[in-house]
């Protein structure tokens, strides 16, 4: 066989394969009938299977809302567990369609790792948890301590910077998963556990003696956590982004899982009608979905406030206050652009 002919054929074959692979994520998900959503290996309140084996949590709710919008059924999600180290490879390789795993939006993850963040579902910061018996009341007193830290996270880099800036030393104990960190921390193999403050609160809530563990007052970084998708398919990124926006806008507009059926019969507010698909406007068609996509997304788990309250809010053992995550109308940062 002639060499050039051979390589010509080869290139053609590769382009064919690549061409076949470049169908949109939306088409793939629809054809598959299931959304592959990357979540953590288990952070109570954010993503963890319940006693019946059903995935529950604040991040899980995002996956379910997207599945409801795209496939019409919030149950059609395959949850893929990822660690701090494996999550990005899983997303970049297409093993998962989206990642909702307490992941911080940073410039390098956006521009260098080539991911698109669909927004922020939890504004967080990095904190420290320590046993009250150690008698420590500030992170500035942690000089010489042994710190449990998940590898492959932003928190590992913040930790290094914080101790350097404060002229302190520490001994890092690198750890793969939250469960492992919890076990090491409770065994006393490390003095302090540091990660996103929400993650600390969630972890502490599973302890037998949560009252004996304190979160130190210092929050040493900004950790805007949100779902993300791979670069290269803007339509898919838009779908995930606007599903999130729909949840926030629903809270702002007073759409709840209780009244959504009632409201979708038609209201005096044109924006509500546009969102719920009860007017002439067809917003869903703009990214390949039907008119009722947002209605289904909201109906899946309720609006943003309902999801927050049910999974991590003050009435749950995790007990997080809305704080920065209140709506902008209530002094928080959660804000959705208009549905128009």
């Amino acid at each position: 066989m002639n060499k050039t002919v051979f390589f010509g054929a080869m290139t053609a074959a590769v382009t064919l394969v690549a061409g076949a692979a470049s169908a949109t994520v939306l088409d793939e998900v629809k054809a598959r009938g299931e959304l592959n959503c990357g979540v953590s290996t288990g952070v109570n309140g954010f993503s963890a299977p319940d006693s019946a084996g059903e995935w529950q949590g604040f991040d899980v709710a995002v996956c379910r809302a997207v599945a409801a919008a795209v496939l019409g059924d919030p149950k059609k999600v395959k949850f893929v567990t990822t660690t701090g180290q494996t999550r990005f490879t899983a997303l970049a390789s297409g093993e998962i369609d989206m990642l909702a795993r307490n992941t911080t939006w940073t410039l390098s993850r956006d521009a260098d790792l080539k991911f698109t963040f669909a927004g922020v579902n939890y504004y967080d910061g990095q904190g420290f948890m320590i046993n009250k018996a150690m008698g420590v009341s500030s992170a500035k007193e942690l000089d010489g301590s042994t710190v449990c830290i998940q590898t492959g996270t932003t928190t590992e880099l913040n930790l290094a910077d914080y101790f350097k800036a404060n002229n302190m030393t520490y001994e890092p104990v690198p750890i793969e998963t939250n469960a492992e960190a919890q076990q090491q921390y409770l065994a006393g193999a490390c003095d302090v556990y540091t990660t996103d403050a929400s993650g600390l609160a969630a972890t502490r809530a599973t302890f037998a003696d949560p009252e004996n563990h304190a979160l130190l007052p210092e929050i040493i970084s900004k950790e805007p956590l949100g779902p993300l998708v791979a670069h290269g398919d803007d339509q898919w990124a838009d779908i995930v982004r606007w599903t999130m926006n729909a949840l926030v806008a629903a809270e702002e507009l007073g759409i709840t899982s209780a009244n959504i059926e009632e409201l979708s019969k038609g209201t005096a507010n044109p924006e509500v009608d546009r969102m719920l698909g009860s007017s002439e406007d067809d917003l869903g068609a703009m990214f390949g979905l039907d008119k009722q996509w947002a209605k289904r997304a909201i109906a899946a788990n309720g609006n943003y406030g309902e999801i927050f309250a049910a999974n991590i809010g003050e009435s749950t053992p995790i007990g997080l206050a809305r704080g920065l995550n209140a709506l902008w109308t209530q002094g928080g940062l959660q804000y959705s652009p208009p549905f128009r």
């Binding site: 970049a92 290094a160 910077d161 065994a187």
Partner: protein, 417 residues
Amino acid sequence: MAMTSEPSGSSFRLSMLIYDTRYRSITIQILFLFLFMAGFAWLVDNTLANLAQKGKDINFGFLGSRAGYDINQMLVNYTNDSSHARAWIVGLLNTLVLAVAACASATVIGVIAGVLRLSKSWIVSKIMTVYVEIFRNVPLLLWIIVIFAVLTEITPAPNAFRGENPTSSMFFFDSVAITNRGTYLPGALFDRSLGDINLGIVSVSTNYIVLIALIIASIWGYRALQRKAGVVQEATGVRPVTWWKSALILIAPTLIALLAMGFHLEYPELKGFNFQGGSYLRNSFIAMWLALTLYTGAFIAENVRAGILAISKGQTEAAFALGLRPNRTMNLVILPQALRVIIPPLISQYLNITKNTSLAIAVGYMDLRATLGGITLNQTGRELECMLLLMMTYLIVSLMISGAMNVYNNSVKLKER
């Protein structure tokens, strides 16, 4: 008939490439080589095309940029301001330290267990059989995790050593502390230290250089003394008394140097959150070391046993007939011959240890896989580059080990004269 079977040479037809046995094997080999290369080219081309489609390139520039993360165990200077390349070296050295320590201890354990498994004592040989079978038949990763879990769960936290009535105490006159983070041992301290030589990546203590130089010089002096005594013995038939001179040459210089540098032991002491001072072996290291030693030791034991069994019984009987005692028979007759059988599989056990160190991630030991192949890979997103470097590094290390072991093998193997 004779005419047709004679190759004429002048008329070569293409079909002969397939039907003529003289050419057929070459044709097939060339075809396979071509297919192999085409397959390889396709893989490379596919990778590059897919990377380009994702907007990614292959670039090793990240190695020079700031790593930003801390590593707990480092043999060379490293801070979070150092480069990713430096973190790679730190990881490599951690891998090598673990591999060397585990190879040495696995060999010792393996030889002892292998010899004892052939013991005439029923109890001893059965105990060794149980050891070998238990460790050979459970995956290494499980041993690593079990040992690490035992170390963390049953040993006390540093906190237990605190206060008026501590629940735990140190061993050996307060010199050793075993905690769930690691074991703290006394370390050497020099009051009149000669300082460090800073070589950029490493700073080496001049004290140790001086001590090592003195010890080498002492051994050389001792050898010279023995040789002179030998010459005198050859000439006069009487061996001069040398024991006090040998003792002096061997011990005195090092001792004087130690005194001059003000050597004393530094004991670990609980200060703040942790013990400070002395030297520190992390539990992650101990767990890896123990697990690799016991696991690979079981395989080496089998190699040793096979090597010994390969030496015919006649050799032992001949040695006994010459009046050699059993352990001298083992040391002088059996083992030297058995080594020829033992060493080749031993090389592959050493390679196994080196590669198995990459399981260290399970217990958070910061080896090559955890630094370059773990945190660096994850923070920079350079999967392909990091994996290529990682494979290359393990390959080079393995080739060096087998090269060195082959040299040793050639030096002990049967020399035919």
